[in-house]
Assembly symmetry: C2
Homo-oligomer: 310 residues x 2
């Protein structure tokens, strides 16, 4: 194989109660990457589309390349690769844009190299891109983007422990991306370093409820568990119209609604596609009422992760 084209999905991290531990993949949006073997060693970015010129062509400043370099170093390989990246999702949107690029890159490279490593073992390399993007190597976007489905990160230390949580087939996600931007580092820096034991207990109860609700297919329990008393109250102040949008989602029939990742995108979960669509329209109208334009994405929970598309 001399070249490959891969799609990797966007992801919703945190999922209300599960700050840094929950994330799920969606069918769209996502990123595409094209890798071509070249004779001279090293990585070369030949083109980036869809980033409005904001991403660097320097491989050492690009999340996908940083992940691919970590992978090549691990294999002690010096295959030369030319890279074309098609950002088909907004940057700084809270949809795991950097994670999708990293996953696309490292997954495509592993395929191109003849698949020397198992898919799950690519995770640490994809996380290196996250370290560059946000300062810490989080897995709550890269793990669902790489593995598909709804993922719980049980632990990071001493060993990364990733658990796939079954979800009901009729569960649909709505994502609404408002045309504003929140910097991931800022969104992290406004969080308090301590939380009350009371809120910790409340949050743990919802984490337990959400896992049980998803695995049982109990929509009532899923709905009651989509509550975040620690992060959302702080981060929501960065999103104009947050309360109105959330209220609109619930009124339209969503099981719950919260911030996607560090924001500003907001997500909702619904128990069928029609409801998910109506929820998206209601959320978009609510953003419009505070003069913010937005895009809607509706999708089932993506169970595949990255796929070869050419």
């Amino acid at each position: 194989m001399e070249s490959i084209k891969v799609f990797a999905p966007a992801t919703v991290a945190n999922v209300a109660c599960g700050f840094d531990i929950f994330g799920f993949a969606v069918d769209n949006p996502g990123d595409e990457i094209i890798l071509r073997k070249k004779v001279t060693p090293g990585l070369e970015i030949v083109k980036i589309e869809g980033d409005q010129g904001r991403l660097s062509l320097d491989p050492e400043k690009n999340t996908a390349c940083i992940s691919m370099l970590a992978y090549l170093k691990h294999l002690n390989a010096n295959q030369g690769i030319s890279i074309e990246l098609r950002k088909k999702m907004p940057l700084g949107s809270g949809l795991g844009s950097s994670a999708a690029s990293s996953v696309a890159g490292v997954f495509a490279l592993n395929e191109l190299m003849g698949r020397p490593m198992d898919q799950i073992d690519l995770l640490p390399f994809a996380m290196e891109g996250e370290r560059f993007a946000s300062g810490t190597p989080h897995a709550d976007n890269v793990a669902p983007s790489l593995l598909g489905g709804f993922i719980a990160i049980r632990s990071y230390e001493p060993k990364l422990d990733v658990v796939k949580i079954d979800t009901p087939a009729e569960l649909f996600a709505t994502i609404v991306h408002p045309q504003i931007e929140v910097n991931t580092r800022d969104a992290r820096n406004i969080l308090r370093k301590e939380t009350s034991l009371k809120n910790t207990i409340t949050q743990m109860g919802n984490v337990a409820g959400l896992v049980a609700g998803l695995m049982k297919g109990d929509y009532g329990l899923i709905s009651r568990s989509l509550v975040d008393v620690i992060i959302e109250p702080v981060r929501s102040i960065l999103i104009p119209g947050f309360d109105e949008v959330k209220h609109a989602a619930i009124e339209a029939g969503a099981l719950g609604c919260s911030i996607s990742g560090a924001g500003p995108s907001m997500f909702a979960l619904s128990k069928d596609r029609d409801t998910a669509k109506k929820v998206g329209e209601a959320m978009q109208r609510a953003f419009a009422s505070v003069q913010i334009e937005s895009e809607i994405y509706v999708s089932s929970i993506n169970q595949n992760g990255p796929v070869v598309i050419g």
Copy 2:
């Protein structure tokens, strides 16, 4: 029906990572209560066995009676009842002694009255006994004692939300009760009111992992999730030999080991009865090495809750 005899099981609350939200019932020990209708209104405790004379015969100072009084008040009933309580488990042991009495009392009374209420609706009355015993109306002992099985308390406010978590049939609990006493209020008062966001995330990951592990029957995941970074490090200092006992349990093959409720009893989970027995003996020897006598209880996860035995 003029009289009834009921057994209600002891419970292990917290279960390592799930402070205030997790609890499970065991087959033994537990409490027995005998209720007899009497002509004159009011509750009368005629006998308490097994408490070494430590429990009051005053109905307003007895957890079982407080729960029964709350139940009668709710029904606006003034049935006279004479009560015989047989404590078949140690007091102040961290095994939900007060909860077992409350559950036995309110369950027996509901049966005696012709079952006017569903079993799950008895929970708030049983919790009133806990309010008296520990200052707050916790449900992590009363809910599993009343409903059986492994229980997650998703929330207390605005509405109590109790979720039953399926457990693998071959999961066995070992409880070792050392002959020392820890006061529940003290064990609560030494806890910090705040915790780091980092520890909260770690704990949430383990809560998610334990629920998923139990529901999937994934013993490795159960084992890795039986970790408590918030409560155990503080409360374990109240239990002489804690580290040795925990180490002994793990060495003997336990999936995990931590404090039962507020202590001083310690519990372990194992993947079969033989291992659970060996684990108990190893834990007992470890307590003996610090000159503490102890009792061992080995049991599957009790799926029944309270039962009529006469």
